[in-house]
Amino acid sequence: MSQDLWNYLFIGLSFAVYIFIAVRSRAGSTQEFYVANQGVSPFANGMATAADWMSAATFISMAGTVAISGYDGGRFLMGWTGGYVLLTILMVPYLRKFGKATVPDFIGDRYYSNFARLVAVICAIFICLTYIMGQMRGVGVVFAQLFNIEIWAGVIIGGAIVFFYAALGGMKGITYTQVAQYCVMAFSYTLPTILIAMTLTGNVFPQLGLIGSTVGENSQPILEKLNNVNIELGFSEYTAGNMSKLNMFCITAALMAGTAGLPHVIVRFFTVKDVKAVRTSCCWTLAFIGVIYLTAPAVGAFARINLIDKLHNTAYSEAPAWFAKFEETKQMSWVDKNNDGKIQYFGPGKATEGSSGAVFAGKPDFDKEAPRGLHGQRVPTNEVDLTNPNELYFGTDIMVMANPYMGGLPKWVIGFLMAGCIAAALSTAAGLLLVLSTSISHDLMKKILKPDLTDRQEMGYARGASAVALLVAIYFGINPPSAFIAKTVAFAFGLAASSFFPTLLIGIFSKRMGSTGAIAGMIAGITFTLGYIIYFQFNLPLVGKGSPDQYLFGITPEGIGFVGMILNFVVAFVVNSFTADAPQEVQDMVERIHVPTGASEASDH
């Protein structure tokens, strides 16, 4: 059976399952659409949250980032799991007790102000849109690889599928679809890694393989081998990393606080019965997430060893067949700078001073009609950078998908992995789309603009809002503001860390914080963070684009959410000291959310 057939078989099968579930459990009322009637078991919710949480960025991009940056990749590993500790200990049990359907709902009621609610809605829209862009990009990359089409076409196909079942099933449909998606993701991620770990290290567990040694005559520890190869090729040591401690600290902190402030994750815990079930559900969630996060560092290390083994100093004519495949989809590219017909891969250490070490400027692009190079390779139209000897370009996002090819695994494993990639992107995109549409239909339309909406009309708005949100996400999926999926997503965390996390935390633990202080903090936090990101990522008409030497204390835009978060706290408390405290009935309400019983009664809205 050919590779394409295996791919279609696995993806077709998984889609059939998702659609079957979505149709079986489609939502009839807003209560079902928003929180699945609060009847989901902690175990199922744990799985669904894990699928919702682990996006295309985690699944496709994270291991690639670890492969390229070694120790530095730990910021994603820790940031995206450590946030659950904050989420569980500081946020969700209290928010569940409060018992509203959305995060802006809590902010609106706790700060007794529709303006606060509006600011929260706008923050939610910004966060979800930034995040969903990364997902659409991920879907595009997978479909492009799969059907040999351009990425933009892949993005559009993915968008259509997400719209179909997120808008149809609501939270209830999504939850049970996500349970199925988690299973596909977990198996398809770990299985190839286990097989590669066995051939490379002789260990069944990839985690033990990572700290173990290679098999064969010249047995040597995996990490030592990586360090040696990295140094030899002009990269920094794999276990040492490049990033400054402060920057690493800030990015990790921004990702953690962002995790605890992401509306689509928080809202998942509103679907279980009571506070006790929330605690149990959190344990399951992180355990399920851990299955993939503990495997990712092994994927990264193995992929790097295989990539260098298979490609470095190999003649193009003898390169494995998959190289040409990735070349066609512009995920890999080779420029024969020294005219020896061999592929060479070198790091910045081998380049002249000040060179980036990139083969050429930007991402590879070639003319399909143009004649091929001397060795049959595609010739990129990009301007070649001759200040360094590096000849090999590969996208970070391709590492996980290229891994089974590089490890020489059977075709069905690759087909299964493709299904997993798509499940990862679809599950997160669907969850985000749901929060986006609820923010507009419930928080904006029902609670602020038109309080007399019927249940049916509200659902109509929710579905309409999903369509609009998706179109915007598709546009940015085709024209992403950042090179890597993981980076685009990291910005969403910065925004969540600087807006929701501090505001929710103060709302739960400080009785006295009034609306003016909270609103001022929220606005200050998100404006600062958004401004910083836009200034350094986009080329603005008047001010231009910031250069890295202008970074505040050398903190990259990925980590600035941590500074934005501190700013939010400071502004909120300073402004509150000049303005009125929360009224008595709100203070009593805050007292009540600290008592864990009686959560189910409070859930009507």
């Binding site: 670890v66 590993l77 820790m78 450590g82 500790v85 990572l210 700290i211 605690r279």
Partner: protein, 88 residues
């Protein structure tokens, strides 16, 4: 509900929260970032991985999962002691 004292409940639950967060901070920020060079040099390697490197890629995640299990256990026990359990 007779033995429920709101003030002591709040104090005990905050104590649980702060002690777990301290471990969380030590595992992620201190062991994996701030003090990792020292730990790499002075603590035994885990397999062939330097200690700080291993903490950042594997150890911290394992500790996070254990922290959540501990939180669930401690809070449920505290609730039970104060008689704060929903009747099903």
């Amino acid at each position: 509900m007779s033995d429920h004292d709101p003030l002591s409940y709040r104090r005990s639950s905050l104590r649980i929260v702060f002690s777990l967060l301290t471990i969380w901070f030590m595992a992620s920020y201190v062991a994996s970032i701030l003090a990792r060079d020292w730990l790499d040099a002075n603590l035994p390697s885990i397999g062939h991985a330097p200690f700080g490197f291993w903490m950042s890629q594997q150890g911290s995640i394992i500790i996070f999962i254990l922290l959540l299990i501990a939180y669930r256990f401690l809070m449920n026990r505290l609730d039970a002691r104060h008689g704060l359990v929903d009747k099903d």
